[in-house]
């Protein structure tokens, strides 16, 4: 082999290697579109910090070798404002968006992105849904461009009802939810799954209240007490859960709460020492995951004096970097194709982005509010309390069928 040949081969290898990492060093902008004003602002600002924190972490080291940049835009929890935010993000050259707070907002954005992608080939935008859990988004309204990293209400309720069916003390349930798509779905799936697994349980009341507007839940608590309910199921989040719990403590309601979002900003403080052993959360994570997650949460707590709970942010950066490495590109069309059906390891075990409907299949945990101890040490909002896992649901248990007929471009 002559020296020229060797040089040529060397160059060739370098060229191929260069091609293989065409995306390396590129900056990927992710627009975070969620509330930063109003009653839900504390939740929003916590999540923005979470996304920025993990953008930094993953930029330091990820298989695709890309850098992530998070752009935060306030949507005031309004679908109309969110559409403006989407436009503003696209004008800045953003191709990945991640809104999550409020299925009301998510529905409008999915429609907008479907239309945009159809009309503007080459400028596609991908929707990375971190927290909007209305099952419709992966069923009747499913879209190829939408990927959900949270578990939807049908999955959470499947797991929650499996846990509740083994608690004989639950006899009368009250459903209290926010009056919009998410709250309606929680009520619907709660009734459906519990009627299937424990037909003897009675539903003694059901209420829907306006989203992020109620300041005084005392009348609702009085009503729940009068109904004789021993358990409340609620999909409330942010101030709607914190103020509900506060009113329950003040109004002397001693029943159980089954929630989605006990760990979200404000609620731990509202609970305080009260509610020990009575307040449950179903989610894809909890405060005491251990391992790498424990280190991250500790770092987050020292850096921001706040608690990290939006684990789907980690899923999202995991998926983006794995898919970009696989596609060898940051082009949303290629990355979406790579994420379609992709299996990876994340903090809650192996997860899969199901091809059928783009719903992440993952392990769920039922946890309960109680005193922090050496085994479960994480202490949110300086309450001295924590969420302790009581049951783990492998992906095959919480997985639910889909009616999605996805149009693949």
């Amino acid at each position: 082999m002559s020296i020229h040949m060797r040089w040529a081969m060397c160059l060739g290898v370098m060229w191929v290697a260069g091609l293989a990492h065409a995306q390396k060093g590129e900056t990927v902008k992710v627009a975070w579109i969620d509330p930063l004003s109003g009653l839900m602002a504390p939740v929003g600002s916590n999540q923005l910090k979470s996304f920025q924190f993990f953008a930094d972490k993953f930029s330091q080291n990820n298989p695709a070798g890309v850098k992530f940049e998070v752009i935060g835009i306030d949507n005031k929890l309004s679908p109309a404002e969110s559409l403006n935010a989407l436009k503003a993000a696209m004008d800045q050259g953003v191709r990945y968006i991640t809104p999550g707070n409020g299925s009301s907002v998510a529905g409008a954005l999915i429609d907008a992105i479907n239309k945009h992608n159809e009309r503007n080939p080459g400028k596609e935008v991908v929707y990375l849904n971190h927290s909007a859990v209305d099952p419709d988004f992966t069923n009747s309204k499913c879209s190829y461009w939408h990927f959900r990293f949270d578990a939807d209400t049908s999955m959470k309720m499947e797991a929650m009802s499996s846990f509740m069916k083994d608690l004989p003390e639950i006899k009368k349930i009250y459903l209290l939810n926010q009056n919009y798509s998410h709250g309606h779905q929680v009520a619907k799936y709660a009734k459906e799954t519990i009627a299937r697994k424990r037909p003897d349980i009675q539903f003694v009341g059901e209420d829907l209240h306006p989203l992020a507007q109620v300041r005084d839940f005392a009348p609702y608590i009085a009503k729940i007490k009068a109904s004789g309910a021993d358990t409340v199921i609620t999909g409330n989040w942010g101030s709607d859960l914190a103020l509900l719990i506060k009113a329950a403590n003040e109004g002397g309601f001693n029943g159980k709460f089954f929630t989605y979002y006990t760990g979200v900003t404000g609620t731990p403080t509202a609970l305080g020492k009260g509610g020990e052993g009575r307040v449950y959360q179903i989610a894809y994570n909890h405060y005491n995951m251990g391992g790498q997650m424990a280190q991250w949460m500790k770092e987050f707590q020292t850096k921001y004096k706040d608690d990290f709970y939006t684990g789907s942010a980690i899923h999202i950066f995991n998926y983006l970097s794995a898919a970009m490495a696989k596609a060898q590109s940051t082009d949303p069309v290629k990355v979406a194709a790579a994420m379609h059906g992709l299996k990876i390891k994340s903090f809650n075990g192996e997860v899969e982005m199901r091809k059928l409907d783009h719903q992440l299949q993952q392990t769920l945990f039922m946890s309960v509010w109680q005193k922090a101890d050496p085994k479960y040490p994480y202490n949110p909002e300086n309450t001295g309390m924590t969420l302790v896992p009581v049951k783990t649901f492998e992906p095959y248990i919480s997985s639910t069928p889909t009616s999605c007929q996805m149009k693949t471009p």
Partner: protein
Amino acid sequence: MEFFLISLLNGVSYGLLLFMLSAGLTLIFSMMGVLNFAHASFYMLGAYLGYSLNQLWGFLPALVLAPLVVGLLGAAFEKYLLRRVHAHGHVPELLITFGLAYVVLEVVQLLWGRSAVAFAPPAWLQGPAFTLVGGSGASTIQWLWGAAPEAFCQGAVVCSPFPATRAFMMGVAVAMVLCLWALITRTRVGLVIQAALTHPQAVQTLGHNVPRVFMVVFGVGTGLAALAGVIGGSTFVTEPSMAATVGSVTFVVIVMGGLGSLAGAFWASVLIGTVQTLAVAVDLSLTDLWLRLGLPQSASMASGSWMNLTLSQAAPILPYLFLVLMLMIRPKGLMGTRED
């Protein structure tokens, strides 16, 4: 029964908070004939100042100082801004209060941020003031001061604690009503104010400084709003949209009570507070009414018709419905005297 009592107490305490707010608004209106759009902003300012003073010196100093500071700000606003535009008629006056509401909102957001601040009531206001014991297991409703012992509230016996913050809210409001009433009807200052309401020129000719009376009334009105703010902010939530939410309801209150009538505002606030709270408890819908009348139910009615909306779901719009109905049926309000 204890459910009804607790709901009633919740409603009345909320109504009394509304009255603390609308008292100043209706007084100012009857004096100057101007609707102060920024009134609820003074309520919010009171809550935020109360929050900051509470951190510095504790709750009681905050409860006294925040209304004083806000009252002085209100008086200054009247003296240096409102009085100047007064000469140009009512529309500029209305517009300047409208502008002030936005200025206050933005200033509050600049100083304290866009999200809620943690304004917790002091330790002596946490926990229940008294407990109602009732339910099917108890023969009569009992009244216990403070919290009921654990052993007491078991099985069919239902304990309904009433939070001390709410009791305090009611106490302060009632004390305020008495003071206002005494001030207006039993003192010399009150006489001058009453006279200046209807015959400002005559009062001026008699040698009283009517502009100063106006300024004092404006200051007291905004101070009362701030007092409501400190109490409301610590009982509920202190955040930038608190003015907007409560502002619209106070307008309903003063229109219903009759513009300018203090007694009317009192009854209207208690009425609205109670109705809004009790409505949450009622799950009746138009469909139920329809069926009770013995009329047949169609298929479209059974599935998701607007007639299935329950009263509890409609509770938030009830005050505005009252407003429209009141203006239709009795435009001068419950106790108003103005026919114009």
